[in-house]
Symmetry: C2
Subunit: 634 residues, 2 copies
């Protein structure tokens, strides 16, 4: 066995060299330090059915140091999951073997890695899922030593011990060298061990090139009860090649062809052995809870309710209906109202304390194993986890985010608690869905659709209680909008969502008093946006749109509206933005909406000035004067 | 003294109750737990000139648990820096005393806090500044226990010990109760101490309501050499009021008036004592390095150079010219090229390892003490610190961010390393400046202006080498753009920046071959945007714009362009977006630009189709058919 393992480890090193040299880029040295660890893990410990990568009882392996994927792909080859030809396609256009693991194209991996420090938190989510579903699989996370500088790693260490995840094993490949310099702790394994132990883990320091030591440590981890285990493996970057082993200047560099030949020879020459990775026991816990009909909460029109409360009510309803729904919150569940779910379904609620990064990554770990994960905190604090959200999208994960307390309308707490960039942030996530409901029934109806969506969804909720506008029977398709006020005399369209919609309706009433009719659109679906209705409104209201949003002027509602008017055959209307343009302070919500220029008074002013202004410039027929575009030559 | 301190502590509690009850909101209980700590600190240790809050030798005090600001404001009142009337204006519209500390309005605080877990990292930056400037001031950071769940806190603990910051003192107000539940570690002070010690700190556990114990611990911290010290103070939330002390359900809740009266009486009744906070020694280190003339790097037109390299060259030049320039990087200085600065000015370069959150917050700590801080990493990984960047803007800090390796054009490393949301993210930062240069000379000229900018600046640099387009003599004002190709026959305008500008120029040449003339604009200043030139181009090229960007379609260049065409008197042109719309993979830069539809070939296609399409729809005079906007009634 030891010989086989040594042979396998040599092959993993050789293949890591071969495929990166063929690619002309990549990270052979970071792969080679981890080869012995992967050899023992894949040969003796991992239970994984490569024919069914998502089988519920597979062990999970997360390569947190994603740049070392050559050694992982090499292990996949050794396991027969890919062939040598595919291995040699590394990093080439169209290959499933990207420069960092990506489940969009390679279903053998569960998640995308490459932004460091996220793997352990994902592993926490997977280990929690195993426990929730009473499945015996284990989760292994291979980390680099450099990435332990990321705070997200310590959030994950903390949560794993808090939840006593003895089905989770972290392995630190302590190869001493970072990209540009030695790591802070170098080869001081005891320093890592002290930190890990202080964070509640069982820690084992060992020689990461000693196959027996790795074997013993993995066995010890497997038998440890009530506590997760971390292996701190002292390794050499580039181990096995005298040219690059433990040398500076070889991070992220393939060996030139001649040097690669020498190194392969030094490692005993190319070989193509196969290993049989054990399959997990074919079990599926019986007696699964089954779904119940969804009974959404309903609210009376005119009743005052906060959309954050409706989120909590609807999340509870989803949880009652679907056993695959889980909820995570960053210690503000009594503000986001996810505490309703917590009280009703404590086993499916995960208190993530004030650690948003770990919360999002753990939710990704749950999501890729089939859970419908709802993640909530103040919208402003989701910015703490933007990298994790970005990576969740690359992981092809389906994740349901809810941010409460958005905008200046939160009032007295002041700007640190006001999300004013969340719509921009979430719109710029690949494939995302962005929703901003204005009333309680709408919130519930949207959440019922969210649970059916793929990808990253974001729902922005409001702190303040606002009147219920829609009957409980109303439907709100994602990608739609509501024309709430319309007449044949509308001189302009006011587009709003969430809190500003209520201001728009007040403005409509004030303008009506003055005999001015405006159209009012509730743009609850910010992405995708209802281009058809917006275009129709522009056509019917003289091409005049006023977009009102409780958000910075950049990247939010107005930019979403403008999407509807871009494209080859589109001509843009006149658009006025009422948005937050200077740092807000503390005060009553109404004072702050007014100070930001996004309340009813300012909408009225804007409509009046806009219409007067355009009328003044007309050609006498009441048609807005158009820019004198030059005449095309073609 | 002990009596005075006890009186003072009682007054801080009483005032925290009074001002929050008057405000009708706020956090008295979280303030009361920290009152003894603040009493001792302000009376005996802090050296601070309230007449000159930014005096270079003032001790710094960072209230990381910003929601406890009532106790800080109460201490300001005791110190005579504000009066009781102002204290009672807490959280009211227009008051300097916001719900969380905000230096925009209150210069007595250096930074905004309220997003938890950022104060210690800011303190690290301040302590590093003290060391750099050889100033004897000390930095104190008061943290909540809940916020130690944030990974950013551990990044800061790590960096502080790495840099042996014995001028930094962290104080954890371990009051056991979070917002909705008990903290993970409760009153387990030894657990905190073990973590803090494992991260290289001197730790002292103590009773946070024992004035003598606090005094002794602060003295011990002051005398500790070579290591930062953390006080872990066991406290009660709401200490001093039998109604709320150590009780659940009192987070962020003011006492009703009658209960407030009872509590104040229990605390010995309202009082208005004054303390004299000691001033620091009036010193200013002499022999300050003086500025030298700026000698920017220059590049030959046609030479190939990456803008990331030009960033490194120009940063070095700025560092040579200005002694107040400091640089921080997250262990990728050999990729961002900040390593040029590191080699030349090692004392002003701070290796922050792979911990972007701490990097940004520490830079804020340096910036508010007068440094010009340049912060670099891969653009994608700045998303890790978005909350910190958001808070930096609320802190009114001037911070210069550079993100390298933007967009699909980085090639083989794949999507985890590709920033595709950075422009959106940075545009939505209050008061930010966003730049995206396309050549080396432009990069250098922009960086020379950046150092004079206030607020958050962001410069996006490119991995690939691209031809130098502009002579070194060319000027590039922020807020401007360059019309690189123009003729009277231009049928459309192509707007690009950075890597896509080079594609636009190729497209221009290809179209020219076919006899089609287009205008090409280099929109290097994404925010602010050159509305005048864009409008002029629209007017002169038949209102046809094609915007090409290596970024998601949302929130980036195209949305910036559309800003130029919004506003009352604007009529918008036809805008086509060429942007990234599906998840990219690995491959050669050219392959990925092509696959994303943002290379020269796609620009040519778009121009052709756009022009044909519009021509087909013309009214016979070659003028694009306009939307049939309805006629205004008014």
């Amino acid at each position: 066995m030891a010989d086989t393992l040594a042979d396998l480890a040599a092959q993993l090193r050789i293949d890591s060299i071969r495929c990166t040299t063929a690619a002309g880029s990549g990270h052979p040295s970071s792969s080679m330090s981890a080869a012995d660890i992967l050899a023992v893990l894949f040969q003796k410990y991992l239970r994984f059915d490569f024919q069914q990568p998502r089988a519920p009882n597979n062990d999970r392996f997360v390569l947190s140091k994603g740049h070392a994927c050559p050694v992982l792909y090499s292990a996949f080859k050794a396991a027969g999951a890919i062939d040598d030809k595919e291995l040699m396609s590394l990093r080439k256009f169209g290959s499933r073997l990207e420069g960092h693991p990506n489940p969009h194209v390679l279903p053998l991996v569960d998640v995308a890695t490459g932004s460091l420090g996220q793997g352990l938190a994902i592993g926490v989510g997977m280990a929690l899922t195993a426990r929730l579903d009473r499945l015996p699989f284990r989760t292994y996370v291979l980390m680099g030593d450099s990435e332990t500088a990321e705070g997200s790693v310590w959030e994950a260490f903390d949560k794993a011990s808090h939840y006593k995840l003895d089905n989770l094993c972290a392995i630190i490949d302590m190869n001493r060298l970072g990209q540009s310099t030695q790591t802070e702790l170098g080869w001081n394994g005891e320093a890592y061990a002290a930190r890990v132990r202080a964070f509640g883990w069982h820690a084992i320091t060992l020689d990461g090139h000693d196959l027996d030591a790795i074997d013993r440590a993995l066995a010890e981890a497997q038998s440890k009860q009530g506590q997760p285990t971390c292996l701190i493996c002292k390794t050499e970057k580039g181990h096995g090649s005298s040219l690059i082993a433990n040398q500076d200047g070889w991070h992220g560099k393939p060996l030139p062809e001649d040097k690669a030949r020498d190194a392969i020879q030094e490692l005993g020459g190319e070989r193509h052995m196969r290993i049989d990775v054990k399959k997990p026991d074919a079990l599926r816990p019986s007696g699964q809870d089954t779904a119940a009909p969804l009974k959404l909460p309903t609210y009376e029109v005119g009743q005052k309710e906060a959309t954050r409360k409706a989120y909590g009510d609807a999340l509870l309803a989803l949880g009652n209906a679907r056993p695959d729904v889980v909820a995570l919150d960053a210690e503000v569940s009594n503000s986001t109202y996810s505490d309703e779910f917590r009280k009703a379904h404590p086993e499916r609620y995960f208190e993530m304390y004030i650690a948003e990064q770990n919360m999002v990554s753990s939710a990704v770990g749950m999501a890729v194993l089939g859970k419908r994960a709802f993640v909530s905190t103040f919208a402003a604090f989701l910015s703490r986890a933007y990298d994790q959200i970005r990576m969740a999208s690359i992981s092809n994960a389906t994740l349901h985010l809810c941010g409460s307390h958005a905008g200046v309308s939160i009032g007295e707490d002041g700007p640190s608690q006001m999300a004013l960039e969340d719509l921009s942030m979430m719109r710029a996530v690949g494939g995302s869905t962005v929703l901003y409901p204005s009333d309680a029934n709408q919130t519930a109806k949207l959440l019922a659709q969210v649970v059916e969506c793929q990808g990253i969804t974001y729902l922005r909720s409001t702190r303040e209680k606002t009147p219920v506008l829609y009957p409980a029977s109303e439907e709100f398709p994602i990608g739609g909008c509501k024309v709430l006020r319309r007449s044949d005399q509308d001189v302009a369209t006011v587009v709003a969502a969430g809190i500003t919609l209520h201001e728009a309706l007040k403005a409509w009433a004030m303008l009506k008093e003055e005999g001015v009719a405006v159209r009012v659109i509730d743009l609850y679906s910010v992405k995708p946006v209802d281009a058809k209705t917006l275009r129709e409104a522009a056509r019917e209201t003289h091409g005049r749109l006023i977009v009102v949003e409780d958000h910075w002027a950049e990247g939010g509602l107005a930019d979403a509206v403008l999407e509807a008017f871009t494209g080859e055959r589109q001509r843009l209307p006149s658009v006025v933005r009422l948005a937050v343009t200077k740092q807000p302070g503390s005060g009553k919500p109404a004072e702050l909406l007014n100070a930001a220029g996004i309340d009813a008074e300012h909408i009225v002013e804007s409509v009046t000035s806009f219409v007067e202004d355009v009328t003044r410039d007309t050609d006498g027929q009441g048609k807005p004067q158009e820019e004198a575009w030059g005449h095309p030559h073609a």
